[in-house]
């Protein structure tokens, strides 16, 4: 996984942009917690094959939670969230959902074998990988979704980056490292907790920290005359 630290950095950046009046230390803590929780599915790995990047990493759950939140805050006469946590809670809940989808799910989607996007409805891992460019020789080109036609049968196949199912895909993680299968059972297993494995991941961590620190130094703008 791009480590949880990277998710957290990007989530802080997004949260700072969205929280508005609800921006405070407590709100940031809630957002960070929301970023960490899905990783719990690594612990299910030993019990359920392919659980990591499946149970906590699908779009079905956030869509369901979003619908529930919408129903609670907009459709019901009295909202449970607003009763308990006021408008602050409603704001933080929506921002947490946004951060979960963009800073956690989508970043994982672009990493290793991707995420099990539509689990439990449809069991398949998807990986986002490709380029988008304008070329003087090839025109407008994108390689995220490959559409190929079979030259013989003329059948069109669409490759959106599917990498397999929970049966075939295991995304290496510290609880169940890939390396464990290869090493001698007597040797101690090397569990590696990545923090930032690429320059750009370190960048996202640092930007998140930068934004939070910068906000500390900012004063409220005086009301305009």
């Amino acid at each position: 996984m791009p480590s949880t630290v990277v998710h957290a950095g990007f989530a802080l950046l997004l949260a700072a942009g969205l929280l508005a009046d609800a921006y405070d230390r407590k709100a940031l803590a809630v957002v960070l917690l929301i970023v960490v929780i899905p990783e719990v599915d690594t612990l299910l790995g030993p019990v359920m094959p392919g659980a990591h990047r499946t149970v906590g990493h699908n779009v079905v759950l956030p869509v369901a939670l979003g619908a529930l939140l919408f129903y609670d805050t907009r459709l019901r006469d009295r909202s449970a969230v607003r009763d308990r946590f006021d408008d602050w809670g409603v704001r933080v809940a929506w921002v947490g959902l946004f951060a979960h989808v963009f800073a956690h799910l989508f970043l994982d989607w672009a990493h290793l074998e991707g995420i099990n996007m539509f689990w439990p409805i449809h069991d398949e891992f998807f990986r986002l990988e490709g380029e988008l460019f304008l070329s003087t020789t090839e025109g407008f080109t994108q390689t995220f979704v490959e559409i190929a036609a079979d030259p013989e049968s003329g059948e069109r196949s669409v490759d959106a980056g599917g990498t397999g199912t929970t049966e075939s895909v295991h995304v290496s993680n510290p609880v169940e490292p890939d390396a464990a299968a290869d090493t001698d059972p007597d040797e101690p297993v090397d569990r590696r907790f990545p923090i930032a494995q690429r320059g750009w991941r370190l960048y996202l961590v640092l930007v998140g920290v930068f934004v939070v620190v910068a906000r500390r130094f900012q004063r409220d703008l005086p009301p305009e005359e």
């Binding site: 986002l128 003087t136 569990r191 690429r198």
Partner: protein, 233 residues
């Protein structure tokens, strides 16, 4: 070099995060403009050899601007910027400056094409490249900062070369050297990898949410019209 679209997206995210009450269409445009400004050195590279990722991708310009802005806003008795554009102007200036450095220059430095940080004082491109992890067998492993790195750099970072030996191709100037031919193959990258697509999508959605919200809330007192009334140069 990182696609300018990615610089713009990062600039937009910073704008939303830091502008606070000064957030409106105009200030976002200024901040995004600042984030993509460093990439203009690719145009200069048509005339100045090796200017791409060097001329505007160094520490001197942001340092100079920070000094200037700090002097004007905090040291002088009467600030030119504050008199002209008020607290709004000061906030936008600081955020634009942050976007110039953090969203414009830094993405090049962190493992995409490299930035010539000390140009023109000392000519070497730098890349923050490596990994940072905690291993149960080896403890903390860190290879971003290396004091014994080879290459022409004097900073403890990986250096791919100098303006002489290392060239960053862009769609403006796809081949080493000054000048360009019309039939050169050009590629304008919008997104080069999955994570960049995620950053761009996040920025678009986040701005959409913020602007739609502002529209629903209706015009607050003292919106954009007030500060444009001061007159633009």
């Amino acid at each position: 070099m990182a696609p300018t679209l990615v610089n713009a997206a990062l600039g937009a995210l910073l704008a939303a995060a830091l502008l606070g009450a000064a957030f409106d269409r105009r200030s976002v445009a200024i901040v995004v403009g600042a984030a993509i400004a460093p990439d203009l050195d690719a145009v200069v590279s048509l005339v100045v050899p090796g200017a791409t990722n060097a001329l505007f991708h160094n520490v001197w310009i942001p340092l100079g601007l920070v000094t200037l802005l700090y002097w004007d806003v905090s040291v002088r008795e009467r600030s030119w910027l504050r008199e002209r554009h008020g607290a709004y102007g000061v906030r936008v200036a600081w955020v634009a400056l942050a976007a110039f450095a953090v969203a414009g220059i830094a993405p090049e430095l962190f493992g995409l094409a490299g930035a010539n940080l000390l140009y023109p004082v000392h000519d070497a491109y730098y890349l923050v490249r490596g990994r940072l992890l905690f291993s149960t067998q080896e403890g903390i492993v860190q290879t971003f900062v290396a004091f014994d790195s080879e290459g022409p750099g004097i900073l403890p970072l990986y250096s791919p070369g100098t303006t002489e030996s290392y060239f960053v191709p862009t769609w403006v100037n796809p081949e080493p050297g000054v000048g360009t031919t019309l039939d050169a193959e050009r590629e304008l990258y919008l997104v080069r990898s999955g994570w960049q697509a995620v950053v761009v999508a996040s920025a678009i959605c986040l701005l959409a949410v913020r602007f739609i919200e502002d529209a629903f809330r209706g015009p607050r007192e003292g919106t954009a019209d007030d500060h444009t009334a001061g007159g633009e140069p």
